[in-house]
């Protein structure tokens, strides 16, 4: 497994030290094993993805993706078994419908498409996993911080709401 990225600095505190923080939801049977495969083969990839192991990509409630962004993730990655390979036969068929809808909705909210990635990674595709992580990290790094908590604060909603911040 990749070493853990350091996220000590908040994006506002020190823009120069900002590192993209990406949340990765990986299914246990294929994609997580694929990530393990990358680790045991000692492939190099960037340490910016925080992996959350779930039993099936069909188990990923779309709300979890919005929760990740709302709490400051710069990108979200959803990886599951290839269609036809699902351990639960049709779990990823649900992912296959939900993720394109999520992509459309996130685009409506002004979140750049590169910040949300949905791919199929099998247990043998460690190389694909390491390439995906590096590629997505670089794309998100080029876009800069998303900082949704800060955006909500500026508009006076959600986390740390402070109506006085609107210049009373």
């Amino acid at each position: 497994m990749a070493q853990t990225a350091t996220h000590a600095q908040s994006p506002q505190a020190s823009p120069a030290a900002w590192e993209p923080r990406i949340i990765g939801f990986l299914c246990y049977w294929c994609s997580y094993t694929g990530a393990d495969n990358a680790g045991t083969a000692r492939m190099q990839y960037l340490p910016n993805v925080d992996i959350i192991k779930v039993m099936c990509s069909g188990r990923i409630d779309p709300e979890l993706i919005t929760i990740a962004f709302a709490n400051g993730a710069d990108g979200v990655m959803v990886l599951g078994c290839h269609i036809g390979d699902c351990h639960y036969i049709s779990g990823n068929h649900k992912t296959m419908v939900r993720m394109p809808l999520m992509r459309r909705m996130l685009a409506d909210l002004g979140i750049e498409p590169a910040r949300f990635r949905h791919e199929w990674v099998s247990a043998a595709e460690g190389e694909k996993f390491s390439k995906l992580v590096t590629e997505m990290t670089e794309q998100v790094r080029a876009l800069g911080p998303l900082n949704w908590p800060g955006l909500m604060r500026d508009r006076g909603v959600g986390h740390g709401m402070d109506l006085k911040a609107w210049g009373e």
Binding site: E63, I65, R98, M102, M105, R155, G156, V157, L163
Partner: protein
């Protein structure tokens, strides 16, 4: 309770259409029973009460105050804070006060874009001097202040502590009457932060009488394009009904009139975000076994964000547009 033994009730109209005020009258002749046991001490829509009158009430004077509409400007916030102080029980009445409602769809735009549409770019507008509302004006006769427009539509509970919420656009008359009876009879549940009352804990599909044939959706269509078969689930017929992602309590009224559920009762009890709850539900309902087919079906949905969050964007996780 007043010296005459009657309850004191109030109602306020903030950022909403006014339908909530009317929905209170929808209880019909039962309103005569209500005024036997309750005095109205504040209801700007129905009678001429001044803000100063309310400010003069002792704290906790109003037994039950129903606040409808979201908080869109500084006046509405000020009155929300005033009514919180003057009320024993503050109720967020309707979808706008509880979840932002239709006005919250404006959170998909910035103030600049809203002003541009309202004062400049709409075809029917002529505004050569590019005049826009100002919150402050110096005149020879003194300074004028009007309420400031906020950058987002807030829920009542974003501004003050709320005891109960009655969801719905508007809340359905029988539910409102049950709630009033509970208040009058002293049978209100223990005071709780924004506890939802006047609704149930399941989803609209549980109350809907239309038959589910367990057929998957093979094409999305819209209500004005064809006449749906009676007594058959609208979602299975390809109409994007929000039933599976909407809290029950209305009795599936729209469905009885062959109209799809638009989601006005807000997110179901086990979710906070109605839009992602609907995306989750659709995941199991589409007739697609390949990615291309799934993509094709998803593209047929005209406006996912506006449809899924029609009444609840202020309660969504992301709440605003970047």
């Amino acid at each position: 309770m007043g010296a005459n033994g009657k309850l004191k009730v109030g109602m306020y109209w903030a950022s909403s259409c006014g339908g909530c005020d009317i929905s209170l009258l929808e209880i019909g002749p039962r309103i005569l029973d209500l005024i036997k046991v309750a005095d109205v001490v504040f209801w700007p829509c129905a009678a001429d009460f001044k803000y100063q009158t309310v400010a003069g009430y002792p704290d906790g004077y109003i037994d039950a105050c129903f606040y409808n509409g979201g908080v869109r400007n500084s006046e509405q916030e000020e009155i929300a804070r005033l009514l919180r102080t003057k009320s024993k029980t503050l109720v967020a009445y309707g979808a706008c006060a509880g979840d932002g409602g239709i006005p919250a769809l404006a959170n998909l735009n910035t103030i600049a874009a809203i002003y541009d549409a309202s004062y400049h770019s709409n075809p029917s507008i002529e505004n050569p001097d590019r005049v826009e509302p100002q919150s402050h004006l110096d005149t020879p006769y003194g300074e004028l202040e009007i309420p400031r427009f906020y950058p987002a539509v807030l829920r009542l509970k974003d501004v003050v502590e709320v005891d109960y919420e009655i969801p719905g656009c508007p809340p359905q008359a029988d539910r409102v009457w049950e709630t009033i009876q509970a208040v009058v009879g002293g049978a209100v549940p223990p005071r709780n932060h924004a506890l939802r009352v006047g609704c149930a804990d399941k989803v609209v599909c549980d109350e809907c009488l239309r038959e589910k044939k367990l057929k998957k959706i093979s094409q999305f269509t819209r209500g004005h394009l064809f006449r749906p078969e009676r007594d058959w689930c609208l979602l299975e017929q390809g109409i994007l009904c929000m039933g599976p992602a909407t809290r029950s309590g209305c009795g599936a009224l729209c469905l009885k009139a062959d109209i799809r559920c638009e989601g006005c009762y807000g997110p179901p009890a086990n979710a906070e975000d109605q839009g992602t709850a609907m995306i989750g539900a659709l995941g199991t309902l589409l007739d697609a076994t390949t990615e291309d087919r799934a993509q094709e079906l998803v593209e047929q949905i005209a406006d996912p964000t506006g449809t899924f969050y029609r009444f609840s964007f202020s309660s969504s996780m992301l709440k605003v547009r970047k």
